[in-house]
Symmetry: C2
Amino acid sequence: MAATIVATHERATAAERILRAAVVLFRERGYHGSSMRTLARALRMEAASLYYHFRSKQEILFAILDHTLDDLLAGVGRAVASADGPEARLRAAVRFHVLFHTDSQHEAFLSHSELRSLTQGNLRLVLTRRDEYERVFRGLLASGVRAGVFQVADVRLTAMAILTMCTGVATWFADGGRLSPEAIADRYVEMIMKSVKR
Amino acid sequence: MAATIVATHERATAAERILRAAVVLFRERGYHGSSMRTLARALRMEAASLYYHFRSKQEILFAILDHTLDDLLAGVGRAVASADGPEARLRAAVRFHVLFHTDSQHEAFLSHSELRSLTQGNLRLVLTRRDEYERVFRGLLASGVRAGVFQVADVRLTAMAILTMCTGVATWFADGGRLSPEAIADRYVEMIMKSVKR
DNA sequence: GTCTATAACTAGATAGAC
DNA sequence: GTCTATCTAGTTATAGAC
């Protein structure tokens, strides 16, 4: 996961190392609360050197959110393709969504909390693809309703409820905490399926 | 609601007017993305004047979150007291929580997104009371389980799932949009009750 | 590809007049 | 209670040496 930011752990390019450090910094102090000097210091370089790899601080933020959306869209596509029928597909999609928010916790958190720090043009690009991601969940719910296996009062609202519930995992999940990512995903899947089943 | 920030719409004190403007500004651009000069401009005053009412920008943020927690704790207390039995009490608490996140949408949003902008001491104060709020929901779930009317695999996790799902409403709710706060609250209550009932 | 130096500007906060 | 003026320090970004 997060394959587009770091292909492998060794031999990351300079740009990849910058993005990784920026994710951690932006998560801790926010985009506007983080300076290029602080980011450079974390990488043991000078701020000016960052501008060889990225044209601006904004470009760094956009690259993070853009790569995160690549991973989300590719991942949910794989999850849905791996299952058959509305129920199994929704299970797989929810499972992927939760695990993404534990595995790529900080990237996922930024994808929500720093939307307001994007320039207008970059925001439009990101929101277009986020809508695409949300449409996958609405589609799964709608086809379950049509097939008579789900009963939901409002597909749109239920999709938002499911997504924000799982997205919230990125705000409180602690690595090595009481529950493993797998355990959280299992229980979230059960809660959601119980709520939408006919 | 939000009674501690604005008691009435007319005759708000200067401090109240500053807090109200800060809520809107911090919501739009974030705490670090907002400057005292920008805040002052929104209020048609000079930045220096703000320092007559608040000692620092940090004190403004803390006042917003502190007042929001006053309202949350008082509101959930009233909601729970107004109902009888675990099921009716959980319904009332969830209903209050959702309506708070539509009515005091921006304050509620800041209470989550700007925790990281608090100083260590202020963060501790806020988190202590937020835990108190979360404990109310864990308590309601636990007593429903004891009474045999709820069936949940993990009370702590379910409480977090419920709270983050409803809290998410503050991120996407649009005044005058497709669904009224009441309709959203009703449907969220149904989804949650269906998920936790035995 | 990374550095030093610096330009141009903005930040939070204070002093003291009115 | 609000103002003007200002201090100090920090900000993004660029120029040009190595």
